[in-house]
């Protein structure tokens, strides 16, 4: 088979969503953002809501998400994406509004907005990409960084308290990995809370189904945040190749952040 | 005509609402008015005062240092504002609780037993309307019918049945100022 044969329309086996623009992603090869963008675009396309969808991009690696989605978009200040989403949804209750944030944006500088948006029960969809690190600024500690994990600002590994020796044992240091998703699941304002991953095709399909549910809930409902966390990688700042990064994710991130639904239809899932 | 008035007393005596009724009555009289309260933590239980200006012309400064009339309802306010009445101006006070009487001789000084008269009327809430009546006797800048209109505009609908009682209190104030 020649290249000419492969690109014939009848040989088409896969194409990108029509709702992704042709602008090449600036994301590092192997990064999860591209896959997550793709499945969100596919969901919007499948639901036929592209003419009434408004996205909110954060500050972080996905700051320019607006360049890749062919829907209306606003770029928010660092941490304020869900305040922006609230603003739009309150004045356009019939539009479909989603925010897209990383761990630093959603769970550090934007924690206040995250908790209060969830507590008000805004009828929006929140996508939360958790890779345990600040990607855009060069690999500093995130609120979700694992204990012991080395970052630019925890070069000897994140330590919740100072280590033994020199008499400093037990003094507060970098704190603990923040389980923001479990935290907001306890709030009555959240309707659907789930944690997914995109490191292999099976999980990509599950994550897409979850995102679809998070959008459908918004379309069919009047209130309640629909929250999808996606545990992702950062091979560049984790300083690994993509395959290794995904392995490391399975071995280290998932035990700390187990996958699955946490809250469905407003009810916490029994474990 | 421009009348610059300070009304001062304790929070809870109806100082601010008396000022509001006076200002609304001024509007009904076709005047320009302003109502400027002291605001802040001292509003809670401490002293409260409000500057009301009623004028034929656009009101310049709503905040003043000298007044045509001071309506004084406690000792602290008397201490603070006696010196700020313009020469030839009026000072009206309720002697209830006043231990150091005003001493100026270049102003008109009058009293009204507001607390006592309100108690006689069987309703402590009309206290500030008795004081307003006394003020209007001394400074007849607004007609009674406009005071009634002013009440109608400044009181919520559900309190409108109390307007006759309030107007009666105004009259009591007018009859008893000394």
């Amino acid at each position: 088979m020649t290249v000419e044969d492969i690109i014939k329309p009848e040989n088409l086996v896969y194409e990108k969503s029509k709702l992704l623009t042709s602008k090449p992603f600036h994301y590092c090869p192997g990064c999860g953002h591209g896959t997550i963008h793709r499945i969100i675009a596919e969901v919007i396309e499948e639901l036929g809501i592209d003419e009434k969808t408004i996205g909110v991009s954060p500050v972080g690696c996905s700051v320019m998400a607006y360049d890749y989605f062919d829907v209306d978009f606003i770029e928010a200040a660092h941490g304020r994406a869900t305040a922006c989403a609230t603003g739009i949804k309150r004045v356009w209750p019939d539009k479909v509004v989603f925010s897209y944030q990383g761990d630093g944006d959603l769970a550090a500088i934007g924690t206040c907005e995250t908790i209060h948006t969830c507590n008000r029960g805004e009828n929006i969809t929140m996508i939360f990409v958790n890779n345990g690190i600040y990607g855009m600024t060069g690999g500093q500690m995130a609120p979700t960084t694992l204990e012991g994990m080395k970052t630019a600002t925890t070069p000897y590994g994140r330590k919740a308290t100072l280590p033994a020796g020199a008499g400093f044992d037990g003094i507060p240091n970098n704190g603990y990995p923040l389980h923001i998703t479990e935290l907001i699941a306890r709030l009555p304002g959240t309707k659907y809370v789930t944690r997914q991953a995109v490191y292999d095709p099976a999980h990509v399909r599950k994550a897409k189904a979850a995102i679809k549910k998070a959008f459908e809930n918004q379309i069919n409902g009047k209130s309640g945040v629909n929250f999808v966390e996606i545990v992702s990688n950062c091979n560049s700042n984790w300083k690994m190749d993509p395959v290794k990064a995904n392995q490391w994710l399975v071995e280290n991130m998932l035990p700390e952040y187990p996958l699955g639904d946490i809250k469905v239809d407003g009810k916490l899932v029994e474990k | 005509m421009t009348e610059e008035i300070i009304i001062a007393g304790f929070g809870g005596q109806g100082v601010l609402s008396m000022g509001k009724i006076l200002a609304y009555s001024g509007i009904m009289e076709g005047k320009e008015v302003s109502w400027m309260p002291s605001y802040g933590p001292e509003m809670r239980g401490g002293t409260a005062n409000v500057t009301v200006i009623v004028s034929d012309e656009r009101v310049c400064s709503p905040i003043l240092n000298a007044f045509d009339t001071a309506v004084i309802l406690n000792q602290q306010s008397l201490d603070k504002f006696e010196s700020k009445v313009k020469p030839g101006g009026y000072l009206l006070y309720d002697p209830n609780g006043i231990t150091k009487k005003p001493t100026r001789t270049d102003i008109h000084i009058h009293t009204i037993e507001g607390a006592q008269l309100a108690s006689d009327m069987g309703n402590s809430k009309v206290f500030n309307m008795i004081i307003l009546g006394a003020f209007l006797k001394l400074r007849p800048i607004i007609l009674d019918k406009n005071v009634e209109e002013g009440l109608r505009h400044s009181l919520p609908e559900r309190a409108h049945k109390l307007i006759p009682l309030n107007m009666q209190a105004v009259q009591v104030g007018k009859d008893n100022v000394k």
Binding site: V71, D72, R80, T86, K95 | -
Partner: protein, 361 residues
């Protein structure tokens, strides 16, 4: 003619927002402007006109709700007082960069820091010269009466949408807390979705298939494009300077000396003009209504007509005086007088300052 009422400045602002057909208010309580959100909440505007009123979790959240709802083509406003407006500067810079229309009121209190809850005009620099990051301007309207608190909502929204920028209503504790009579405008309908789509093609309303999607952002990593964007913003501000200067002159026709004052200071200085004229001094008052754009030409004209000196009267340690001096350009004397910390100058001391600092022996 609309309805005549006795209202506080803060209440008049809130009521006229409902009547203008404002779509949403996002705020956070702070003295001395909490009456705005309290009044709005009490009025049930959602039932009256469909206007959304939301108490946000912080001033930061509130201004970012304004940023996004404004980007969505709606008429949106917020209000706060000085320390709260500091927090809003982040959002205001984004609003400037992304060219989003909105109105925000700042009922100024004394600073720095937590300062005092009493009136002040010490946030002139913050409102007029910047506050957030980057080269930007907001249109700044300075109401001097309760009537103007009401009127400037409509004017503010008209200008905000005309130029796609933030309009600040720079008030203070005195104007916010005082009651005066006010003529309220008639109720206007809120704009429909069709009207918004037709009038504001830039607004985020969901893109039509086959058309370019819209992006509201203040970011561009391409330096050439960013410089071009900045040039575009400056050209817009220049247009505002050419077309939107507003001011009032009182007794300036024959004045030898002129007070320059805005907001509550202008009210006091007007009384000082009266007192001075009673003493035979030919005094006048120039009251800037827009602080950006500043009435620079009005000051130049007064000098051309023989005014020999200006006293800038502000509840600050001297901020607007810089603009007065720039306008004077060394041709005549210009000095500052002001009380701070929540103390309000009396008409008498303002007059004395004019005699001592400007008129001289």
């Amino acid at each position: 003619m609309g309805e005549l009422k006795l209202m506080k400045g803060n209440e008049a602002l809130a009521e006229s927002a409902i009547r203008y057909g404002c779509d949403a208010y996002f705020g956070y309580p702070i003295t001395p402007q909490s009456e705005v959100i309290e009044y709005l909440s009490e009025q049930n505007p959602y039932e009256r006109t469909g206007m959304v009123v939301l108490q946000a979790e912080s001033e930061l959240a509130a201004i970012n709700m304004v940023y996004a709802a404004g980007a969505a083509g709606k008429r949106v406003m917020t209000s706060s007082s000085s320390p709260g407006v500091c927090l809003k500067q982040e959002g205001i810079a984004y609003i400037a960069g992304a060219e989003v229309p909105c109105v925000y009121a700042d009922v100024v209190r004394g600073g720095p820091g937590l300062g005092t809850i009493q009136p002040s005009q010490a946030d002139y620099f913050q409102a007029v010269k910047g506050g957030g990051n980057g080269d930007y301007k907001n249109i700044v309207l300075a109401p001097a009466s309760v009537q103007e608190m009401a009127d400037f909502v409509a004017l503010g929204f008209d200008l905000a949408f005309k130029y796609r920028m933030a309009v600040c209503i720079l008030s203070d504790g005195a104007i916010g807390q005082m009651m005066e009579k006010v003529v309220l405008p008639e109720q206007k309908p809120r704009m429909t979705e069709e009207e918004i789509k037709a009038k504001y093609p830039w607004a985020l309303t969901g893109r039509k298939r086959g058309t370019q999607h819209r992006v509201i952002t203040s970011l561009d990593l391409d330096s050439n494009k960013m410089e071009e964007h900045n040039r575009h913003l400056q050209a817009k501000y220049k247009m505002v300077e050419e077309n939107e200067v507003r001011y009032e002159e009182i007794n300036c026709e024959d004045a030898d000396y002129v007070f320059v004052a805005y907001g509550s200071s202008a009210r006091i200085a007007q009384k000082s003009v009266q007192l001075g004229r009673e003493q035979g001094l030919k005094l006048g008052l120039l009251r800037p209504i827009t602080l950006f754009p500043y009435p620079t030409k009005a000051i130049e004209n007064l000098i051309n007509h023989g005014v020999k000196g200006f006293l800038s009267v502000e509840l600050s340690c001297g901020q607007m005086i810089e603009d007065v001096r720039l306008a004077c350009n060394g041709r005549v004397k210009a000095e500052h007088f002001g009380r701070v910390g929540g103390i309000i100058h009396t008409p008498e001391e303002v007059l004395e300052a004019m005699k001592k600092q400007i008129i001289g022996e």
